[in-house]
Structures are given as C-alpha cells and as structure tokens.
C-alpha cells in the first residue's frame, strides 16, 4: 500500500462500519475524509471547530494530539459529549492513526 495512505474505520449512526483509506500527505482532517467518502458528516463551519457537526467518539487507543481551547469550547456547547469525544475537523490524518476507529455522534436535530 502507498506509504502515505492509512486505513481507518468510521462507524456511522446506523452502526455500519466503513473501512476507508485516508491520505496522510494532504493535511486532511477526519471531517474532510468523511465528507470525501459521502459519510453523513455535515462539517457546517468548514473545519474551524465552531459547529460540532463533526462530533465523534474515538473508540481505539490511538494517541491523538490534545484538543485545543477552541475545540474544548465547542464541545462545551455540544450534546451527547463523552470523555472520548472529539471534533473530526481537529483530528488530522497522520501515519500514527493507522487503524483508528471512530464513531459518529448522534445529531441533535
């Protein structure tokens, strides 16, 4: 496999698991990857950590960089937040995330 591609699993809100390839050399985040695969992630604010429409739960043990203040602020305004909650738009693809498993959070509308 291309050395700049990792495999990640995204579990959608219908409990379907999607195994998808994510490039690590394009500065893409999880929200953008999901949108590229037409998974039901709105990404309304475009990736500024300002809408929580890409809220997800990290279900694998991968080490992801800590959430920024902006991300924490947004999670404070979101619902269904758990300890493993993250905003997909703030999770950037890199080789350490190979095998990452995330679950999309419920939408509130």
């Amino acid at each position: 496999m291309d050395e700049n591609i990792i495999l990640i699993k995204v579990i959608d809100r219908e409990d379907q698991t999607h195994e998808i390839e994510a490039p690590t050399d394009m500065n893409m985040n999880l929200m953008e990857i999901c949108k590229a695969y037409d998974l039901p992630v709105k990404g309304t604010c475009g990736g500024m950590a300002m809408c929580a429409s890409c809220h997800c739960y990290v279900e694998s043990e991968h080490e992801i960089s800590d959430a920024s203040d902006d991300e924490e602020d947004m999670l404070d305004q979101a619902f269904f937040v758990e300890n493993n909650s993250r905003l997909g738009c703030q999770v950037f693809m890199n080789e350490k995330l190979n095998g990452l498993i995330v679950r999309l959070a419920k939408e509130n509308d």
Partner: protein
Amino acid sequence: MIETDIIIIGAGPCGLFTVFEAGLLKLRCHLIDSLPIPGGQCAEIYPKKPIYDIPGYPSILAGELVDNLMKQIEPFKPGFTLGERVENVEKKEDNTFIVTTNKGTQHAAPVIAIAGGLGCFEPRKPPISNILDFEDRGIDYIIKDPEKFRNKNVVLSGGGDSALDWAIFLAEDLASNVSLVHRRNSFRGHPDSVDKVYKMAKENKINLITDAEVVGLNGNESLNSIDIKQKSEGLINLNIDYWLPLFGLSPALGPIANWGLNVSKNSIEVDTLDYSTNVSGVFAIGDINTYKGKLKLILCGFHEATLMVQSAFKIIYPDKKLSFKYTTVMGEVKGF
C-alpha cells in the same frame, strides 16, 4: 411596507457586497438578517479569525472585512431589518415579492437575493424530549428582558461566557436563587468571569452544580422542576421558575426550505449564468447556493453577487439598456 429594488436575505459579506454592485447600477437594496448585527458568520462565529484569500488583502480579520464592507456600501444607504427571520415569501400577480418576517415586518421588491449562508442562526436546544412544551413557559434560550427573572428561582446551563456572565448578572441582585449547571468541573469562559463565579459560589450567591447536566423537565402549564444528573450524586430534582440553556447558536436552513426552490443537500440549486433559482426573480448567492464546481468561498460569493445584479437590473428595468463601466472610469462612487 418597506419598498426597494432588491431584498437581500442575509447580511453576511456576500449580501453586503451585493448592495455595492447593485448600487453601481442605481438599484436600491434592503437587507434582512436573523442576527441583530450585520456580518453573518464573519461577525457571529469568527470575527477575530484572519482570512487569507480575500484578493488584495494578505490577511484580514473577518470582523474587519465586515466593517470595510459596511463602509464600502454606505453611499448606497441600504436598509436593514435585523434580528428578524424571514418566514414567508409571496409572489403577487404583478410579479412583486412580499417578504414577511417572524415579527410581521413586510418588504416588497421585484427581486430577491438569498445570501443566507448556512441558514438562520438558532439557539442550540438540549436533546430533552419534552423541551418544546416548555419554550416560553419557563425555558428561554436568549435573555431579552432580565427583569422577568427578578425574585425568581433560575437555573442556567452552559460553560461559556454567556452562561457565566448571565449567572453573575442574575445572581447579583435580581433573581432570588441562581444555579449554574455545567457538564464539566471547569469553565472555559473569560478568566475574570470564571473567578467571579467561583467567588459568588463560595458566598452562596450562585449554586454551582458541575459534572452535571439537565436531563428531565417537569410541569403542567409551565416548568416547575428539572432533573439534573450529577456524576457522583445521581439524580437531583430542583424546583425552579426558569431554566436558561445557553449553548450558543447553530445554523439551520429554516423556512427557506419551504419557499418552492430546488434544494439539494441544504443548498439552493442555481444556474451559473446569473445565479438564478427555479423561481423567476429569486437569486441565490454565496454559501447557500450550489452548482457544479461550487466552492464556498467569500471571494466566489462576491463574483456571484456581481453577475447576479446584472440580471436583477433586467428584471427591474426590462426596457433599459445596461452599459458596463469600470469604477475607475465612473470616478468617485456616487451614492443615493
């Protein structure tokens, strides 16, 4: 009835710039926005964030861009209906549109430009099944008249500046009892506000309930009590008069979806010739429209607005000829 040439729904950067391009063609505009200030997302979501792809500006803060646009359109004296949401659009027999807001303000024009961005900003509502039953009957998402909370038992939810500031304000000498419920045990608001809340909690002026969230609402005609789930103590029931969930605003397409326009994936389909919709006289520009190759960029919205007003002119003055002139040739911008 407010009468104009173009009713612009949405006062974000794209809607504002439409006023300029329309003004050059001597068309008057009136803007309507659900937010109380002009600027849309730039003003509401990210005023302090820099934008790097506005031509001619290596970097400009979103808030500055809005200020500059307001200055640029000033000569054309646009009208504003702010803090009101467009509810209804009706086309009369003479092809005039009547646009009515949720507060009943009516506007008439031969052309509508929808520059609605992501839609209307509305308060985030906690996911509690019977929450709608108590809206305006004990639950307020936006505090308009603090006096109504005088001598009342009030609970606020949220961890940001708005929840902290209102908790302080109401606890100072207005409400009889103020509780602040927050999901975590730390607050992310302005440090001064956080300190003040902790100080008032120590003085028993604010009842802090952290690691907790409101999960149940009880009452008949109006809200009487709420159930709070707290990590260590379990379920707490509080008798209250008002609950103020302050979780910020989020955008929704709202009533636009019901105006008979072709909508796909929360966006309005347009013809890239002039960004017209399937309804003659209604255009959609900026982030709210979609077409093959669409990019949601402010600079693309400016382009769309510029082409759109050319067609708007032909609708408003079908017999007049339009000649194209550079602003440099026209000289100083002459307003109304």
